[in-house]
Amino acid sequence: MSQISLIQAVNQALFEEMARNPDVVLLGEDIGVDGGVFRATDGLIQKFGEDRIIDTPLSESGIVGTAIGMAAYGLRPVAEIQFMGFLYGAMEQLVSHAARLRSRTRGRYTCPLVVRTPYGGGIHAPELHSESTEAFFVHTAGLKVVVPSTPAEAKGLLVSAIRDPDPVIFLEPSRIYRAIKEKVPEGECEIPLGEARLVAEGDDLTLITWGAMLHPTLDAASRISEKGIHADIIDLRTLSPLDSSTIIQSVEKTGRAVIVHEAARTCGLGGEIAAQICEKALLSLEAPVVRVTGYDIPVPLPKTEAWYYPDAEQILDAIETVVHF
């Protein structure tokens, strides 16, 4: 069991699932000989051939629409969209079809499809390469939305996503594709969808986050713990369906919550979580729930993007606010 990065974990999950199940077929732009612009599919075409690693035309709606037909026919397509900012072109296919095929046909057809895409910012890339609009997909009934935060999580969650009988949007935080290495089990390591992960335990407040933002959150938590303040840290992993009960249980214990996401604030998933806390745990609350988020503006270009995202400093501020309320 060697130390691998998140992108290698994705590659490993794809490799193992393809080896296990001949119905797993990959499609997307540049996923073949190029191995994907981030190398997620590196080496797969050599192993599985171009019938199973399908380089497609530049055509996001076509990729997702085609994958829907493949899934309905009985395959397990895993589509790669090169960056989340190009998923908008496939929105109609996702919202009007992938999410509804099962309910539209009352189960006669299903859509076991995974759409993988790098997401979030911090990689100094051009415009629309830094999106985090997961809330669009969380708001879309019939889709599952998954975001891993470490290599091992990425592998276990992607395996589950591929085996899931329903459509999953799998968002890979590109900023930490290579930033962290950890030991990842080879072979079976499914992590069930729909269950959040309690990364650390503490009685003083609850920190809720997912994806790349887990890391500055952990940073802030470790700094505040020096002051004797200890947090439950929840890594959501599956954004939809949301594991509300883990969140509520924790906040009932701690009475305080900070939600951290890099997506724009208004109508982001943080709002939903705060609303649920206030609905279900109001009497436990000892301070307003604070959201640390991106601003309600497009993610700026590399020169200033660092100012757009929450960092440990801001998370610390928020922690101080709720703790000393």
């Binding site: 709606s61 076509g62 493949m70 026919y73 309910s103 539209r104 009988p165 009960s245």
Partner: protein, 366 residues
């Protein structure tokens, strides 16, 4: 300028049975090899789906189904496709293919149920590989292409057919789907029911191209225009295209020139945007008239044959309406039941809430 010709293309037009119900010349082997019964079957099918449509319009007028999209005038394409398809083929309709779907195996009562606004009408029988109605125009085309890709991958001995309207050719998904089909040389046949209108938008506003068939040139495969009111042209062209697909020789685009004789749907009033003369001119090209005239003159189809057919069709439809109307109302709670294979906890709670609401209102009603 120093121009040289890079490439030449031509687009063909196919018609066997013309507006007067005649085939000139008379000796096409494809037609002469068809048994008499085939013609009569075609005719019976056309008559039946016309009658299903008439009944649907009637059910709508009397408030027994909801908004409905008539297929009248377009029966030849639907019968031609249905007859050309094999049972194991897959079919991806738009929303104006009620006739084709019924001929594929969808019980008539299911069609009425769908148009009544009941999801159960979307469930095709298990052995019928057809997708449900697709409302967003053109967006089902990539699904057919994806199925064809899976067929090719699995080396299954079948073909895929998808049908859509002239309006659909303007949508990006038509383009992306056609392009994939060309690139991957997929076993799929695209049939466009060019009925001249997309609601109130005439073909001339839909595209500046002289034919829709020529659009296939953009994707590197064959496009052909057929007289969509000639069931023989449709049947033989689609059949050949499906066979070509099954042989692994790639996709074909078929434009069937036809006309929507009725309003766009029962919610539309076509009188607002097109002339009665235009409609009348097309009535003369009605696929029923010409096929009937052909079997009358070639196979002695007579009034009593006609009457027997009508009686049989009416019986079938009456029975279907009875079956449709005797169905228990759809359970509102079922709206939750096929969202996912397994309903997550929050949705179970929402389902519970609806269940309470239903109980309260039932009690109140009692």
């Amino acid at each position: 300028m120093p121009k040289k010709i890079l490439s030449n293309f031509s687009v063909e037009y196919v018609q066997f049975l013309n507006e007067s119900g005649r085939i000139d010349p008379l000796d096409y082997s494809e037609v002469s090899s068809l048994p008499e019964q085939t013609f009569k079957d075609f005719y019976a099918d056309i008559v039946m789906i016309r009658a299903i449509d008439e009944k649907a319009l009637n059910l709508q007028r009397t408030g027994r189904i909801g908004t409905y999209a008539s297929i009248q005038g377009q029966e030849a394409i639907q019968v031609g496709c249905a007859k050309a398809l094999q049972g194991s083929d897959w079919f991806f309709p738009a929303f104006r293919e009620t006739g084709l779907s019924v001929l594929r195996g969808t019980p008539i009562e299911k069609a009425y149920q769908y148009w009544s606004g009941d999801e159960r009408g979307n469930v095709v029988p298990d052995n019928q590989h057809d997708f449900p109605v697709s409302i967003p125009v053109g967006t089902h085309i990539p699904h057919a292409v994806g199925a064809a890709l899976a067929v090719k991958y699995k080396k299954d001995p079948i073909a895929v057919l998808t049908v859509f309207g002239d309006g659909a050719t303007s949508k990006g998904d038509f383009h992306e789907g056609m392009n994939f089909a060309g690139v991957f040389k997929l076993p799929v046949v695209f049939v466009c029911q060019n009925n001249q209108w997309a609601i109130s938008v005439p073909l001339s506003r839909q595209t500046a191209s002289a034919s829709l068939a020529q659009k296939a040139i953009a994707y590197g495969f064959e496009g052909v225009q057929v007289d969509g009111n000639d069931v023989l042209a449709v049947y033989l062209t689609v059949k050949a295209a499906l066979e070509k697909a099954r042989r692994g020789e790639g996709p074909t685009f078929i434009e069937g020139v036809t006309y929507r004789l009725k309003d766009h749907t029962t919610a539309d009033d076509a009188g607002r945007y097109r002339s009665q003369e235009e409609v009348e001119a097309w009535r003369k090209k009605d696929p029923i008239i010409r096929l009937k005239s052909y079997i009358e003159s070639h196979f002695n189809w007579n009034a009593s044959d006609e009457e027997a057919l009508i009686t049989k069709v009416n019986q079938q439809i009456t029975k279907a309406v009875e079956t449709y109307e005797s169905k228990a109302p759809i359970d509102p709670l079922s709206m939750f039941d096929t969202l996912f294979e397994q309903l997550p906890p929050d949705l179970l709670r929402q389902r519970e809430r609806l269940s309470k609401r239903l109980n309260t209102e039932n009690e109140a009603a009692e």
